[in-house]
């Protein structure tokens, strides 16, 4: 168990900066998810934490001691690889006992401890199997047991679930959570899957382009995204370009919907003419069918449009509505999906639920 602090951490490959002056701290016993699109530098960050890459700048502290230049075999971290990287010429038990063997633990004890660890991941009966005979999920469990067997201060997980099918992945997410609660070790888990991060994490650090965009508890990050990137990355939403208009008596903006809408932005945060992006989250939209011949009863927080597409997505249905040439979507559960193509609908929202971004940063809306 140990806290981890990365300060000003940088990794450059020639002209390419993979990780750019990154600061991050992880509390003792916390499960932190590093979330970001592929190529954002999250795996490189994790590998620098494990000593598998050498930073070109900044430093790494693990449990209060400097570890920046320690080789991997001298630091108290252990990595679960995306490919699992089990030793093909050793049995499952030998794999799990490997770290203890390197630590000089004697034969009987390390076999016993490896067996215990295999029981924790419910792989006890496979101790004498060859890793190559195991399924993906089983390999994943063995890799986890192998890393946990050396009781690392920090467990590093590099997208270990990404090679599993959806159902198994979801099951393993819950099991990982339970194992984390059981061993009380600090976990740093890298993933590109928002759902996985939300399911697992005590806190989420969202990375983009070598930098941390935002760190916080899952709920907090979702409700209160500080940047347009986070808002876009965390979930599907309707992003609409807007231009700030009159700023007396509340900010309004002209949008591609033709109608000016009211924005939850304080008057000193923007000035007239600023280019803005407004996020209309599908779950915040109220939709009702209106009479086909009714004139557009649009106002600053309601617009009328026509349903153009209906997409069945398993348990939910997604409806696309065209409003003044712009497409907006919302979702309903299957049992509640009572709209059809060509229906006229009125889409309204609570102004405070809109999230407004200027130049990538949030300037208003959402929970204050």
């Amino acid at each position: 168990m140990a806290e981890v602090t990365l300060s000003d951490l940088t990794k450059e490959y020639g002209d390419l900066t993979a990780v750019d002056a990154l600061d991050l701290s992880v509390d003792d016993g916390e499960l932190l998810c590093l979330l970001g699109p592929s190529g954002c530098g999250k795996s490189t960050t994790l590998r620098m934490l494990g000593g598998l890459e050498t930073p070109t700048g900044g430093d790494v502290h693990i449990g209060g001691t400097e570890a920046t230049d320690l080789p991997p075999y001298e630091r108290e971290t252990s990595m679960v690889f995306q490919s699992w990287a089990l030793f093909p010429h050793k049995s499952v038990l030998e794999n799990v006992a490997f770290g203890l063997k390197m630590d000089g633990v004697d034969g009987d004890e390390r076999r016993e401890r490896a067996r215990e660890m295999l029981d924790v991941v419910e792989m006890g009966e496979f101790a004498d199997h060859d890793p190559e005979d195991l399924s993906g999920g089983q390999k994943q469990r063995v890799a986890l047991a192998r890393s946990l067997a050396i009781e690392p201060d920090v467990l590093l997980l590099d997208e270990p679930l990404s090679n599993l099918d959806k159902r198994l992945r979801e099951q393993m997410q819950l099991e990982l959570r339970n194992i984390h609660d059981e061993v009380e070790t600090t976990f740093v888990h890298v993933t590109h899957d928002q759902n996985e991060a939300f399911t697992l994490a005590d806190s989420i650090a969202i990375m983009n382009d070598g930098e941390i965009e935002q760190v916080g508890e899952p709920r907090e990050v979702y409700d209160d995204p500080t940047s347009l990137f986070v808002e876009e990355f965390l979930g599907d939403t309707n992003l609409v370009a807007a231009e700030a208009a009159a700023t007396d008596g509340g900010v309004r903006a002209s949008t591609e919907f033709d109608t000016e809408i009211a924005l939850p932005v304080s008057e000193d945060a923007v000035s007239a003419g600023d280019a803005l992006t407004v996020s209309f989250r599908p779950e915040d939209l109220d939709v009702e069918r209106v009479d086909e011949n009714a004139g557009a009863a649009d106002d600053a927080s309601a617009l009328t449009g026509t349903v153009t597409d209906v997409l069945y997505r398993g348990s939910s249905v997604r409806f696309y509505v065209e409003i003044a040439g712009e497409s907006v979507f919302f979702e309903r559960s299957v049992g509640n999906a009572d709209f059809d193509t060509d229906d006229r609908v009125r889409v309204s929202w609570n102004t405070d639920d809109l999230l407004v971004f200027a130049g990538g940063d949030r300037v208003g809306g959402g929970t204050p």
Binding site: G50, G51, L52, P71, P72, Y73, T77, S78, M79, F81, S83, A85, L86, F87, P88, H89, K90, S91, L93, E94, A97, F98, G99, K101, M102, D103, G107, R110, R111, A114, R146, S147, I150
Partner: protein
């Protein structure tokens, strides 16, 4: 494209069915083996059963006398012992060097990888005799190596070649590329993550090499060992060009019997006995090396 696939599928079916078509496909290979291996081999067997004559050549007959001559000779026994000693020494050196060289080539990337691999293939493009002879000016008493050693303060010149050192160096040099390529081809299938995992779990660099890289490379090491050993026991070019009379291998002795003394029956018997011995040793080496992959090592 689909025609081609269909043709291949048809071919596969034929071969699996083991009908006359598959025999037809094997025919060219079978004919080649028959003409250039089986027939000469049988001629050799027949020749070994003839009687030797004091005037050279042979007298037709059916006798095991030639085998008795080979097995009863102290000189031949010494020649065989030296051949096997040279085989073991050259193989151990070549395979060890090749293991590290192949690992370096596996780890290198870009231009460095190309240079390492190219410099191992380049000598194969030169005639064996020429490149073996090239060691002579380097290792001779008045050669380059001695000049360097003298300049470094060594008291007197040493005759590395012609002699044992020259023979071993030459033989290692001959088999080294084949050993490197055998091991390298197996290493390329290794996932680097596995080595990182070993280091991550506390194995130092040398330890991770022996715990993870060597077991992965073992099939390649087995091939490299058998190739190097078979070739080195039967060495001809290196000992005859870089050795003295003391470095006589059985291949040189058989050459001498056949081409100088014209004692065909004894030469043939000697060849067949060595063939049997080499076959036995090679099989034992393969069994030894591949058997240890199965997990006899302790947890």
């Amino acid at each position: 494209m689909s025609d081609e696939n269909a043709a291949l599928a048809w071919l596969g079916e034929r071969i699996k069915a083991r009908d006359s078509t598959s025999v037809f496909l094997l025919a060219p290979l079978a004919a080649f083996e028959l003409a250039f291996f089986v027939v000469p081999f049988l001629i050799l067997v027949r020749m070994s059963l003839n009687e030797g004559t004091s005037s050279g050549s042979y007298a037709p007959g059916w006798t095991l006398g030639a085998y008795g001559d080979v097995l009863g000779s102290d000189i031949y026994r010494q020649v065989v012992v030296f051949s096997f000693e040279l085989g073991v020494v050259a193989t151990v050196i070549a395979v060890l060097l090749a293991l590290f060289y192949a690992y370096a080539a596996y780890r290198a990337d870009g231009v460095r990888k190309s240079i390492l691999l190219f410099s191992v293939i380049l000598p194969l493009l030169t005639t064996l005799v020429v490149k073996t002879y090239a060691w002579l000016p380097l290792l001779a008493p008045n050669g380059v190596l001695n000049d360097v050693l003298l300049a470094l303060g060594m008291g007197h010149r040493i005759q590395f070649a012609p002699g044992l050192v020259g023979t071993v160096v030459g033989q290692v040099y001959i088999v080294f590329p084949y050993a490197v390529l055998s091991i390298y081809s197996v290493l390329t299938t290794m996932d680097w993550d596995v080595v990182e995992a070993a280091r991550d779990l506390g194995a130092s660099r040398p330890r991770s090499f022996f715990e993870v890289v060597v077991p992965e490379a073992l099939p390649g090491i087995a091939v490299a060992t058998v190739v190097s050993f078979a070739w080195s026991v039967g060495a001809y070019a290196a000992p005859s060009q870089l050795g003295t009379g003391e470095q006589t291998t059985f291949a040189m002795e058989i050459g001498n019997l056949m081409l100088t003394q014209f004692d065909y029956p004894v030469g043939a018997a000697f060849s067949l006995l060595m063939l049997a011995a080499m076959l036995a040793v090679s099989l034992a080496v393969i069994r030894l090396l591949t058997g240890s992959i199965g997990g006899v090592e302790s947890v």
